[in-house]
């Protein structure tokens, strides 16, 4: 267990170095100049002033030097300041994080809670009308991108029916119901594809598990079908699901950018988008590294969950 975590930490550090360097490189390659964010266009006529600012911010140094400087600060916990708002990148991130974190949690929770029963039912009734309907719906969900679903939901539930707000955000501290009213449509927009993917994964894993000898012996014991499905089949069938959820966190983080923009939510994704438009390179750098850290941590957690689910893996380590 100790060596496992140590290995993972080494991998995390490696990943973060690579991600932060690549992001730095990409931001560097973006057309446009950070100077545009630092001083208004008309002040840029003054060449000398511009040069002075460039020197001050170190914009004239070679990229590697700038990266080294950023890295040196970052390991000390200083991710720099946003050049637009002048607040520190860390405070911006922690200010925005709750929105995105809740959106992700609700999305994943909703998807898993719907996908497990759907997938199990489809596998149990493999080849029947029910299976065809579930698989058909999954197919449809799979082909609707999050932003299309978002637009559709806004049109139907916010504009036509007026049940839910189209945009905005209510913090959890303003009351759970008000909070949920603002999170449900964005989460559902993101969840459609997740539901479809997870349902398919669960269906195919449960179908395989149903072929196992221990299912036959469980039947021969006279256990009810429901008990066999949920108390015997689900756990051995959940390893792929856990993997896919972990891997999809990446896609989902990308999805939040679009959905937060669409629903005007003050989350990390929206902030990242703003930062990109404004060439707020410290902000881009900070958020990207933060997101990469989350991604690696989630997938480390996935490996730990494996051990909880399957005692044989525990032994092998």
């Amino acid at each position: 267990m100790g060596t496992f975590i140590a290995k993972r930490l080494v991998r995390l550090v490696g990943t973060l170095l690579a991600v932060s360097f690549l992001t730095f490189l990409l931001v560097n390659l973006l057309p446009g100049d950070a100077i545009n964010a630092l001083i208004p266009i008309d002040a840029q006529q003054d060449r000398e002033f511009v040069e002075q600012i460039r020197e001050e911010w170190g914009l004239n140094d070679p990229m590697l030097v700038r990266y080294g400087r950023w890295l040196g600060d970052a390991v000390q916990g200083d991710f720099g300041d946003s050049i637009v708002t002048s607040r520190t990148v860390s405070s911006e991130i922690f200010h925005r994080l709750p929105v995105t974190a809740e959106l992700m949690l609700v999305t994943v929770g909703l998807s898993v809670m719907l996908a497990i029963p759907l997938g199990v039912m489809a596998a149990y009734r493999e080849g029947t009308r029910l299976d065809q309907v579930i698989s058909g719906i999954a197919q449809v969900f799979l082909s609707i991108p999050g932003f299309v679903a978002g637009l559709l939901f806004i049109y139907v539930f916010a504009m036509k029916l007026g049940w839910l707000p189209a945009t905005g955000w209510n913090r959890l501290s303003n009351g759970l119901l008000d909070n949920l009213r603002t999170v449900i449509l964005p989460a559902l927009s993101l969840a459609l594809i997740e539901i479809a993917v997870y349902t398919r994964v669960v269906r195919s894993d449960v179908m395989n598990t149903l072929q196992e000898d221990f299912v036959l012996s469980a039947r021969a014991k006279g256990l009810s079908d429901r008990y066999i499905l949920f108390r015997h089949c689900l756990r051995p069938s959940s390893l792929t699901l856990i993997t896919v959820v972990g891997l999809n966190i990446g896609t989902l983080l990308g999805g939040t950018v679009v959905v937060e923009f669409l629903f005007a939510m003050p989350g990390l994704g929206k902030r990242l988008l703003d930062a990109i438009f404004q060439r707020d390179f410290m902000m881009i750098q900070g958020i990207t590294v933060f997101v990469a850290t989350i991604y690696v941590l989630v997938n480390t957690a996935v490996d730990l969950i494996y051990m909880l689910v399957d005692p044989r893996i525990r032994k092998a380590d």
Binding site: G127, D213, K221, G222, L223, S224, Y227, R235
Partner: protein
């Protein structure tokens, strides 16, 4: 066997059971009209090589063949009710309570992710509504019963932490938990070490006697059946080819297939490196079974009639000893047929003649 008193003891009557699997290549006739009866507290051995339908037969009676492509016809009357036409809800009540099964491979028939304790008692709890504490006590008793040391510790273990023999003992404990009237043991020792096989068979035998439970022992090994079962069915290509009290079967094998099975057993009395007497040829295609006797293409006694007409399962002198053969082992017809085949150089007859020159046609090869 047909006394009025004994009819009362009758537990299971299987009549003309047929099971077919529809696959892309056609209909596989896995069981082709099997009938037998079993009394309470008695044991029946079902013997045959892989693919002869013995496992499918056992699973058909228990209604455990899953899938929509399986059709089973005939009847299996168990304590007065036909299992094959019972509603599924009633089958759920039968499984575990009245009928239980021990499977071939204890490595895969226990759920690897569930502790042994829950697997031993979950059906007890579901069927009888037994509470957690009482179930735990019963589990310890059951594990003691099947001679597992330190039962409390074993109950907390996962299956992969136990040896194969131990796991099969667990499976037997599971099968016995609700005191079933009939136990199917489907090749219970095939996946185990030779040293453990005897212990497991002895355990099954002891439990069967002590509980006055009926048992069907399915095996490919005639040696397993010998001395352990009251009656024996020999199956070939989905049909019963010989059926007799186990004692009389070993005294006098009448079907050439039974004889071939016995001959193919390795013996400790043979010098080592003696060639095994394999049965030449392969089991027949069950999608399109041969006309006539299914064993005829491999039979050393085969005659033209065998290839055309299916011999009926019938008794000659002993009414309890029935076999399906036109040229039975030990009969004048049989001996004549064999001699003719050897003279004509029929490969399977010549092979038998070479490996066992002294036992020309006599079933009592041992």
């Amino acid at each position: 066997m047909s006394d009025a008193v004994e009819t009362d003891r009758r537990l299971l009557t299987v009549t003309d059971l047929r099971t077919t699997f529809s696959i892309a290549a056609g209909d596989v006739q896995a069981v082709r009209g099997v009938s037998f009866a079993l009394d309470r507290g008695r044991t029946l051995g079902i013997v045959g090589e892989s693919g002869c339908g013995k496992t499918v037969l056992a699973r058909s009676i228990m209604r455990l063949n899953l899938g929509s492509n399986v059709t089973t016809t005939g009847t299996a009357e168990f304590a007065g009710r036909d299992l094959l036409s019972l509603p599924m809800a009633d089958m759920h009540e039968m499984w575990g309570m009245e009928l239980a099964m021990v499977f071939q491979d204890p490595m895969t028939s226990l759920n690897p992710l569930v502790r042994v304790g829950r697997q031993v008692t979950e059906h007890l709890r579901q069927h009888l509504g037994v509470g957690r504490a009482e179930a735990a006590r019963t589990a310890v008793d059951l594990l003691n019963e099947v001679r597992i040391p330190e039962p409390e510790a074993r109950l907390k273990a996962y299956p992969h932490e136990l040896s194969g023999g131990m796991r099969q003992r667990i499976c037997i404990a599971i099968a016995l938990a609700c005191e079933p009237a009939l136990l199917f043991a489907d090749e219970p020792t095939t996946a185990l070490d030779v040293t453990v096989q005897h212990q497991i068979l002895n355990l099954l035998g002891r439990e069967q006697r002590e509980r006055d439970m009926a048992m069907v022992l399915v095996t490919h090994d005639l040696g397993v059946v010998a001395g352990r079962t009251d009656d024996t069915l020999v199956m070939y290509a989905g049909m019963v080819v010989e059926q007799a009290p186990t004692g009389s079967l070993f005294e006098e094998m009448r079907h050439p297939y039974s004889e071939a099975l016995l001959r193919s057993l390795p013996r400790t009395s043979q010098v080592s490196h003696t060639r095994l007497a394999a049965i030449t040829g392969r089991p027949p295609d069950l999608i399109d079974p041969p006309s006539g006797c299914a064993f005829s293409p491999r039979c050393p006694y085969v005659q033209p009639r065998c290839r055309e007409e299916v011999p009926p399962l019938s008794a000659v002198d002993d009414p309890d000893h029935r076999f399906a053969c036109w040229t039975p082992v030990g009969s004048p017809e049989g001996m004549a047929a064999f001699a003719r085949n050897v003279a004509e150089g029929l490969p399977q007859a010549v092979a038998v003649d070479l490996t066992a020159p002294s036992s020309t046609g006599s079933g009592g090869a041992s």
